[in-house]
């Protein structure tokens, strides 16, 4: 699925006049779209391409970020549509043992019935994007050390963000084109978000993990939220007295969906792509990082299987982790297949050899770019020397929520006494409420037995590290050393973990939240064993961060020049790599020759739900929906029928260029009407994050006809259909029985 599970910290636009051959590829900055007008006209677009460049206009102004997912306003009263898989947290938050909203779905028939989507739930409305490249990168002394360069950039970003946020907005300064450009993005941060409607899990997650990243697909991946603000119209924390937010723009919903061959746009917040990384970097990803991720995910899933066997409570607590591991595992396997077997790595190699030859071809280019690739290669080689240790340091924190909470608390206590601009990014005042919310929300998934099992596994990774890459603090704490036989290491780890979990109150929500305001000394005085472990690990963690800052300074010197060479050689319009900022992509509804002997047709229908339905596991649509589909297919008719397939279109494929973070993005037709929601990509597409495959890449959308049909015929969400402006065929809604 295309939901981001992490946020990326990391803005730039280079407008050239020529349209490249690979124009179909591209998560374009909205400002770039007018330059693509000729290509769009060729694809049948009759509207004004310039409209897409207006971030606060129609339709782009209707698109919002949920932080990891994308969504869009579909009514003047702040009604928002996004993917079902983007509101799972809110459904879980509102579920009780009596009322399982995730399984059964939820519909608020009136505003009063709308439920808070939970603490930390946010809607970000982008209000301005400014090119601040000169402010961030200008006047840096050429003789500055890498560290000075890093610190200068870091300081300037913090200063701009601080100034920007004085207007009550949430701001960020983001690098585009590998640091060649920086943009300051200001967003309205709406903090009262409410749950309005989600179909039953058997509809919204139909196909489950079995069908994740796969086609054919029949997933009803939509849900509705509503943004609320204070009576003054400004963002406010949840309050009964808040009123629906009145967006400047909202999308009309088409009852005609998207037809094969039709031009469609997707507007959203794609998280991260690595298309402008060097061959050496992609090679390391292919040969080391991805195989390691696959292996670690498989080990953790094996652990999960043991932990959750005959333990439903544990399965519920670990559901998020399991879903994340599976989602990432399948994605990583797909990327590896595309890079290695699909030949993308070889293609990247050939492209870079062509770049090197291009640079070598003239003395001017040699002078300008000749040193860049070798210098980047040297930096990479240096980093690879300690990559195993650094990766395991990361695994310790990600394995144990107890440890990562302790580390967050410890670092916060160290940063808090400083002036806000001197605090590390992520630990400034602007971050504190997010930190508090996440330390609070943690309780839902926390389990000492599971946490211990995962930390035991991660310490096993540490125990197995080579002698030149040991994590000394954990070696000392646990009593590990290079070459210690496995059984002895296991025994030492178990002894240590016994003490560790006996000596902590990190699992107690109140104790944990009370630690937020404590000084470093008070934290240490609490004698909490996890605080002690975090403290012991801190010097190494700090030295790793120091190294990272030096490297970041060096890359800030090199990467923009590498990108300049790439752009100069390309000589055309190029989209920057995705960086969680607003992008526009376009393409056609289109099937694909997915594999030898196999063609993915561009649409699926209700009949496919009956085909796959087993009544259990991943294929467990509600009986009421199945009965309604059976009735419909006996004599297919009504406003949502596609006569070409004699069925209601459920999901469709398109050639648009999307990635994780795009989940929930509105799919628009040439008139800017909502025709679908982007929710996934195919397995054969995922390596396009590294190198775009024009032939095989397809995104997966849910058709608005399925959404409207199900709202009208199955879920009786008449109130919402009435609230939206549905264009095309009228929706004959029916009350839910």
């Amino acid at each position: 699925m295309f939901r981001l599970r992490r946020t990326f910290l990391s803005a730039v636009i280079l407008l050239a006049a020529v349209i490249g051959l690979t124009a179909e590829q591209g998560m374009w900055m909205p400002q770039q779209i007018p330059d693509l007008a000729a290509r769009l006209r060729a694809l049948g677009f009759v509207g004004d391409a310039a409209a897409f460049a207006d971030l606060t206009g129609q339709p782009v102004g209707a698109v919002v970020s949920l932080g990891g997912c994308t969504a869009s306003f579909v009514s003047p009263d702040g009604l928002i549509v996004t993917n079902h898989h983007c509101v799972v947290g809110g459904l879980q938050f509102n579920s009780t043992t009596q009322r399982d909203l995730l399984t059964d779905g939820f519909l608020a028939r009136t505003r009063d019935e709308e439920l808070s989507n939970g603490p930390g739930s946010r809607v970000f409305v982008t209000t301005s994007v400014k090119d601040v490249t000169a402010d961030i990168m200008g006047r840096i002394d050429a003789t500055a050390t890498d560290r000075q360069r890093n610190d200068t950039i870091d300081r300037r970003i913090k200063e701009r963000v601080a100034t920007c946020e004085k207007a009550g907005l949430r701001c960020s300064v983001t690098s585009f084109f590998e640091g060649l450009k920086y943009f300051e993005i200001a967003q309205l941060e709406i903090r009262d978000v409410r749950l309005v409607y989600a179909p039953a899990e058997g509809i919204g997650v139909f196909g489950g993990e079995t069908d994740n990243w796969r086609w054919p697909r029949q997933t009803g991946d939509w849900s509705f939220l509503r943004a609320y603000v204070g009576k003054d119209g400004k963002p406010a924390a949840y309050s009964k007295d808040n009123v629906p937010y009145k967006p400047a723009h909202w999308l009309k919903v088409s009852a005609q969906g998207a037809k094969p061959g039709e031009l469609v746009f997707v507007v959203g917040y794609p998280g991260r792509t690595m298309r402008h990384r060097t061959y050496a970097e992609i090679k390391e990803t292919t040969e080391w990082a991805l195989p390691r991720s696959v292996r670690l995910a498989e080990e953790q899933l094996a652990l999960v299987e043991k932990l959750t066997a005959n333990n439903k409570d544990m399965a519920i607590k670990l559901a998020g982790r399991i879903q994340g591991l599976n989602n990432g595992l399948t994605n990583n396997k797909g990327v590896l297949e595309g890079l290695v077997k699909g030949g993308a790595l070889d293609q990247k190699d050939a492209q870079e050899k062509a770049l090197v030859a291009w640079i070598a071809a003239t003395p001017a280019r040699q002078k300008q770019y000749g040193d860049v690739l070798p210098a980047m290669a040297a930096l990479q080689a240096e980093g690879e020397k300690v990559r195993e240790r650094n990766a395991v340091m990361g695994s310790l924190s990600s394995a144990s929520q107890y440890l990562s909470a302790a580390q967050t608390l410890y670092r916060l206590s160290v940063q808090r006494p400083k002036s806000d601009l001197d605090r590390e990014a992520g630990y400034q005042e602007r971050d504190w409420s997010r930190i508090r919310e996440s330390l609070d929300r943690l309780q839902r998934s926390l389990d000492a037995t599971a946490d211990r099992a995962f930390l035991r596994w991660a310490l096993g990774l540490a125990a197995a590290l080579r002698s030149d890459q040991r994590i000394d603090p954990s070696d000392r704490a646990v009593g590990l050393r290079a070459g210690l036989p496995g059984t002895e290491a296991d025994r030492a780890i178990d002894l240590y973990l016994g003490r560790l979990y006996a000596g902590t109150k990190m699992g107690d929500r109140d104790v944990r939240l009370a630690m937020i305001d404590k000084s470093t000394a008070d934290l240490l005085a609490s004698n909490d064993s996890f605080i002690a472990l975090a403290s012991a690990l801190e010097p190494l963690a700090e030295s790793m961060r120091e190294t990272a800052k030096n490297r970041a300074g060096a890359y800030a010197r090199l990467r923009p020049r590498y990108m300049q060479a790439l752009l100069a050689k390309a000589g055309g319009l190029v989209a920057p790599d995705a960086n969680s900022t607003l992008r526009v992509t376009y393409g056609q509804v289109k099937g694909v020759d997915a594999k030898d002997g196999l063609f993915y047709k561009s649409q699926t229908g209700l009949a496919g739900i009956l085909e796959k339905q087993t009544g259990e596991g991943d294929f467990n649509a509600p009986k009421h929906q199945i009965d309604t589909i059976r009735d419909f297919l006996k004599s297919p008719k009504g406003p949502y029928l596609d006569p070409a397939i004699k069925d209601v279109p459920v999901n469709f494929l398109s050639t648009v260029d999307t990635t994780g973070g795009n989940s929930g993005s509105p799919t628009l037709n040439a008139r800017g009407e909502l025709v679908g929601l982007l929710f996934d990509g195919t397995y054969e597409s995922v390596s396009s994050d590294y190198l775009f495959d024009e032939a095989k890449t397809r995104s997966i959308h849910v058709d608005t006809r399925y959404m409207l049909w199900n709202m009208a015929e199955v879920d009786g969400a008449t109130n919402l259909i009435k609230e939206m402006i549905v264009v095309g065929a009228p929706a004959k809604a029916r009350e839910k029985k």
Copy 2:
């Protein structure tokens, strides 16, 4: 896969002038083809349809049965082509620890290098088919009891077979159209069959169990045998002095394969279909027989997993059983899906209701057919009362090779003293050499530990039987009874099995073979514990056979009349259900809308082998082939290139109507040239054995272009290409490196 794992004991033709709407469906008797000439012309056939009716002419005369598989002559020197999966036994028989022919493949470069395909290997050449309906069914007294009817038919068949076989042929009398017609089929039985060429397992079984019954497919499922006869030209046992058989007809091999839309014929020996069974019978199959088979196969596969864990020897011994269980399991699941979910059962119900209404429509029909369906329903209800017990009796024998060998020996000893015509079918003199060969061949797969584990499982089924369906002899022998707690039953079974396996020499090849000629008294005097068990079970087995004879007599009275009603209502040309006799089917090379959102293209290519290759398990093509494919695809050219797909076509789909037993059947173009070999059907097709699905049914073939390309470019089988008459583009063969 389409290999038959059992042979069916059961031979009619009804020639009507009108072509039905479902003319595409049909495993036609060769004699019926001339009546389909108009339909064939509509599909583009320009040849003489009457040629197909000549069983001893071209091309049908070139097609032979291997007993469970089909094959065809492709040279005047008795060279035979069939599927790879039809010669696995021969490859295993010739393998040694030093030389694994199954894994590595085999190529005889000269006649001298050709190896015996093993004892029991046969080639059957059909020499005549006679309508003997009057001889078998004529002049049976209308007042005869069902038992008398059965015995009369049985005796007449034996007499005709005995007379026919005096000419040195192998003969059978087979019921067609549910006993409405009987045909006597005479075949030349060639007993010296030699292995000539098989590709490596990674080519011949590429895709393995993962891809079995699936599309897309890239399996090189071909192999070559040669038929040898005595110097006098007559069938003879294997001897160095034998000479290649000179067939009257052999097929030309097309280097052009089969193109999408092309008309193709398949001539072969399909095993069994159940399209003319009643709704009640199909319903019982759906609700009881198939779910039971699925459950039992899954239980046995779980047992296999335990037995073969870390035990490669055991895995090799059980390979045949594992393959059979998996093949049947997937097939049965596919049939269930098609019958239940695909709606075939409902369709059958509607068809039968229409038949009942048709019968009720006139007094003449009521008189002629009115009693048939109720009488058949009563027979079925009677049979269902003891079906669990009867099925478990079958499971005991199929679970334990020790027990089935003992039962065969015991029954043979009882039958041998009788006159040959009085002996039970299967125990006549004509069967003795087959019995000896199978008791000999058994040794390859025999293992006391595995046998005991399977018998333990089957006795567990017996232990769980309801009180009114107990198997008394095994209850007494083991100490079981209805309602005995599971743990007590397990203990009793284990105690019994300890004694059973300690008291037998059935696992000793020489002892077992020596028992063949012993009298019943001598067998019992040997005190072999399995002979004792077989003896104990015999009275119940005999009473089951007696009941079966009475039922068979009743069905012989009823089924022909049911079929008459069906045919009269259909009013057109209908193909009889498959019964392991020679049939001709035709169709087009065609893809299929297999599932919602998914289209199976009609062809695959070499590129698909690279896509799927993992270098292990089911996708482990030899490195030499992979390298050759990579080279080929860099610049695709040569006589086997299909310009439309810029690749060598590997497998293709067609609409021909086939089933188990058709494996290895030649696929012919309109000129009667070999363009492919039939080897499988799709998962979505398997329920067509019960009710033909015109939209979804597809057969899977290997294209001769892939076979010839691989023979020339990978395996260097130049000698064979030279021996065959290759038409179309010339085969530029290359010597193997």
